[in-house]
Amino acid sequence: MPNIIRLEGISRSFALPDGSPYDALRAIKLSINAGEIVGLIGRSGAGKSTLLRIINLLERPDAGTVQVNGQELTSLSARQLRSAREQIGMIFQHYNLLHNLNVYDNVAFPLRLHQRLNAPRLAARVRECLEIVGLSDRAESYPAQLSGGQKQRVSIARALASRPEVLLCDEPTSALDADTTRSILATLRNINTTLGVTIVMVSHELAVLGQLCHRVVVMEDGRIAEQFDPADTATARQTALGRELAFYRSEAGLAGSWKGEQHA
């Protein structure tokens, strides 16, 4: 399978408040295949969020190359980067919707930025995306009138509007309760299988990642400590987080995987 994302030699350091440098990422090399769901985990400060934000260059690396869909993002002009970003959707822990726009206009937002669709096709695309996330009946609502889970659905619809190849998820379920988390994850999986969108997700919730991801990448101190397929239980895990994840997975397995329920 071709790599849709290829990061090489990525380093990024920040200045701490006392002026000393802090290496958030050290020479990271990571390739992600088209159609894969990859989870990034690690303790706070391990660099997982920074790494995610490198993929659409919200954070610029000090060194290294960022290839998405065969395009080297770090060498693009501002204009080229803007159109490259159209192909990379992103959702956030706090949804980041525009509060003064209703659901319809929020989903239409990225389409209006790039103006590639005429009015009827734009409307059709917005309806389509709201359909995917199951919010067709809330098009006229404002974000303040929605629950957390619904807001995250709107933000998923918004991220899908420009038909991205890649969806970046920055702790998408950390502010949600368990039931809502489950249904959001089912939506994400559905998007992955039906639309073939590659998903890269940062999360603290090990159970979430164990259930959803094809591959989990454990980060420690700005490096990739290990990566594995959570379904592969035969190989010994090297990191504490890796072992913890295996435990969650077996717990979930005993309790009867909800994976089955969702597809039933």
């Binding site: 204009r79 803007r82 970003r85 706090h94 980041n96 919707l97 525009l98 509060h99 003064n100 209703n102």
Partner: protein, 220 residues
């Protein structure tokens, strides 16, 4: 008493017209010049789209300097500029020049402050979708901050309604000036009460409509 009020009524109308003229000119200048200046101050600030420390500091210093002048001193100091623009240094049009010069930096700061209220994450989400700096301003900042901007304009209007009273110093006229000349200097209590009452009503009206509009624009 009623008769007295009736005799000053024509004068009151003229004064009201002058006040509204001065206010209109200075608010238009504030919105057209102070608004963009405020947006620029915000965008040049740390961590924003056009981050430029030097330019940001220079503009910030300029705005602060203009804002540190007591208004009556600004009024006198700007007489040459006023003469050059209006051709005269007396009258309501002349008074509008220093009023505008004070309103522009004030509104710029208010706008900058309101834009800071827009959550960082929303701007970031727009950037991640490929928004240009121009789109960040028009499609994100002005949309999300619109209720706050209306409130800022309300505050500005009320502040400058009372500043315009000082315009009497250069023969600017207006209701505040009427209150000072007749009510204060000539101990004409009726005139004083009537003019202050008009000002109270004006302020209430501006605040009421400003708050109402802001509430209607705010979906948060």
């Amino acid at each position: 008493m009623l008769e007295q009020i009736l005799t000053i009524l024509p004068e009151l109308w003229v004064a009201l017209g002058q006040t509204l003229l001065m206010l209109a000119i200075c608010l238009v200048a504030a919105v057209l010049l102070g608004g963009p200046l405020g947006v620029l101050l915000f965008l040049l600030g740390p961590g924003q789209a056009l981050q430029q420390t030097l330019l940001s500091n220079v503009l910030g210093w300029l705005v602060n300097t203009l804002r540190s002048f007591p208004f009556i001193i600004l009024l006198v100091a700007l007489v040459p500029l006023t003469r050059w623009i209006v051709g005269s240094s007396i009258g309501p049009l002349a008074a509008s020049v220093p009023l505008a010069c004070a309103a522009v930096p004030y509104f710029a700061r208010l706008v900058e402050q309101q834009l800071h209220e827009v959550p960082r994450g929303v701007i970031e989400a727009a950037l991640a979708m490929g928004a240009s700096p121009r789109q960040i301003v028009f499609n994100v900042l002005l949309v999300e901050a619109r209720a706050g901007l209306v409130s800022a304009l309300t505050v500005l209007s009320i502040s400058f309604l009372s500043y315009s009273a000082v315009a009497g110093v250069v023969g600017g006229g207006g209701i505040g000036d009427l209150a000072i000349r007749f009510g204060y200097y000539r101990f004409d209590t009726t005139m004083m009460v009537v003019t202050v009452a008009v000002l109270v009503i004006l302020v209430q009206l501006v605040q009421w409509s400003g708050s109402r509009l802001a509430r209607r624009l705010d979906r948060r």
